[in-house]
Amino acid sequence: MHIEIDEISKQFGTTAALHPVSLALPSGALVALLGPSGSGKTTLLRILGGLEFPTSGRVLFDGQDATGVTVQERRAGFVFQSYALFRHMTVFDNIAYGLNARPRATRPQKAEIARRVTKLLDLIQLPDIGSRYPSQLSGGQRQRVALARALAIEPRMLLLDEPFGALDAKVRRELRQGLRDIHDTTGLTTVFVTHDQEEAMELADLVVVMSMGRIEQIGKPQDIRARPATPFVRTFITA
């Protein structure tokens, strides 16, 4: 899905988290929102997911104004920084949650839900953990379950907030490849937030560098590396 951000701004009280920013994300791209904390990247992601109302501006999905579309109707697969797994549910129930939440008319049969959950568990290469609880999983496993849960609703896009933030370096590297693979098989437009320039450069097709609620530069990783547009970008990507 093609995503267009049109002059979106966001005020928190008297402070501006986002100055009007505009951005077009081509269908099927893997995009990194890169910036230090407080740069507005998470706010932008949450606006895309419908978790935050913009103060002004529009969001367009495939050319259609989606600004007023509720968070439930957006069908954005959202992976939270803390993963936000439902701690009182098994992994299976976590992944099935979105399907069970559908209105009766469109809700799949029980057996069909089970089939899809099993398939997703295979996709994240954790076929045997369906009956476990989130507290019994490692950090990396939790992250993958959160991803599977987001994919279960057949999302129109994938949004990830610091997906590898809480993991150690080795797991991080494995999961990066995992995300790349999932993106390539599903073909979903995927946006992830990160403060790690190496991660953004290595993983993304398109990198959006942000600072203080403004977009500093948009470009392919190699272009940004070769031609930083502002002094901020230059210092940030060499840091």
């Binding site: 997911g49 419908g50 978790l51 968070v71 439930q72 109707e73 957006r74 069908r75 954005a76 697969g77 959202f78 939270f80 920084q81 803390s82 936000a84 797994l85 439902f86 701690r87 009182h88 949650y97 979105g98 939440a101 559908r102 849960r149 987001a150 279960a152 609703i153």
Partner: protein, 291 residues
């Protein structure tokens, strides 16, 4: 200091951060004695006096009309006011923890206000607001819906004194748990109610139970506020605590203490359940209740 002796008698290492054994045991003894005199003795006394004439006499007094009416009324009052306060607590905790707005601290102060108001003053407030002398109260009485000296007044008084209980338990827990799980539920397409029932409620159930337990204990035991608004009409507005007072003043000590023993048992059950919750579900209670 004991550095020298440490060299000579190595086994007696004295920790740098503890008190000496003597001090320790002295303090423990003070704690035990204090609680024995202040807490255990009154608790035991209730049962001793209640059973002074034997179990049969005690049970007989509980079967009397006054006692049964009082027990029924107290149960009814609790059955109405506790769920209402639980509903309030959940709504208030949701409002306070899921949204950002100005004056939040002030709102919490207002919710806590009943803690710093004397129950008698609380009862007085309700009498002044809804009593037959006030404009509102007069109108209500004229229309056949008296509040003061009737059940609605007792419910209002009970709700006033127990008002903050559930909200106070839930707010810290819900702040700690954050909003991400609810947000995840929403992004997965669940409605607000569905998220509440399937995500929020299971996460706060033990804290909710904890608050409800305390709220219930206080609701069944409230005396001052109820004494003011109820009029203590036998068989109609006399709750267990006010009946205890009446019986006591009539020198029916076994009857008074038997009814008191029932409430004391309720208090013990409350404490037992509360302690069990603190042991088994500490991670899902407010941080201050973790042992």
């Amino acid at each position: 200091m004991s550095d020298v002796s440490l060299v000579r008698t190595p086994p007696r290492f004295r920790s740098a951060t503890g008190e000496s054994a003597g001090t320790r045991w002295a303090l423990i003894a003070v704690a035990f004695t204090g609680l024995a005199i202040l807490v255990f003795a009154p608790l035991i006394a209730v049962f001793v006096v209640a059973l002074a004439d034997g179990v049969a006499a005690s049970l007989e007094s509980l079967a009397s009309r006054d006692a049964r009416d009082a027990i029924r009324l107290t149960l009814t009052i609790a059955a109405i006011s506790v769920p209402l306060n639980a509903a309030f607590g959940i709504a208030a905790a949701w409002f306070i923890t899921k949204f950002d707005f100005r004056g939040k601290a002030f709102l919490i102060t207002l919710i806590d206000l009943p803690f710093s108001v004397s129950p008698v003053v609380a009862g007085l407030c309700i009498v002044l607001m809804f009593g037959a002398n006030s404009a509102l109260g007069g109108w209500l009485v004229a229309n056949g819906f008296p509040i003061v000296f009737a059940m609605p007044g007792i419910i209002l008084a009970t709700m006033f004194v127990t008002f903050p209980f559930v909200a106070r338990e839930l707010i810290p827990v819900m702040i700690e748990q954050g909003r991400a799980e609810e947000e995840a539920g929403l992004t997965l397409g669940a409605s607000g109610w569905r998220v509440f029932w399937t995500v929020t409620l299971p996460n706060i159930r033990w804290a909710l139970l904890y608050g409800v337990l305390l709220c219930n204990a206080r609701a069944m035991g409230e005396f001052g506020a109820v004494a003011v608004v109820s009029g203590k009409i036998r068989g109609q507005t006399a709750t267990m605590p006010t009946t205890i007072e009446m019986l006591y003043q009539e020198y029916l000590s076994v009857a008074a203490f038997s009814l008191a023993a029932v409430l004391a048992l309720l208090a013990l059950v409350t404490l037992l359940l509360k302690t069990a919750l603190e042991i088994r579900h500490a991670d899902q209670l407010a941080a201050t209740h973790r042992p």
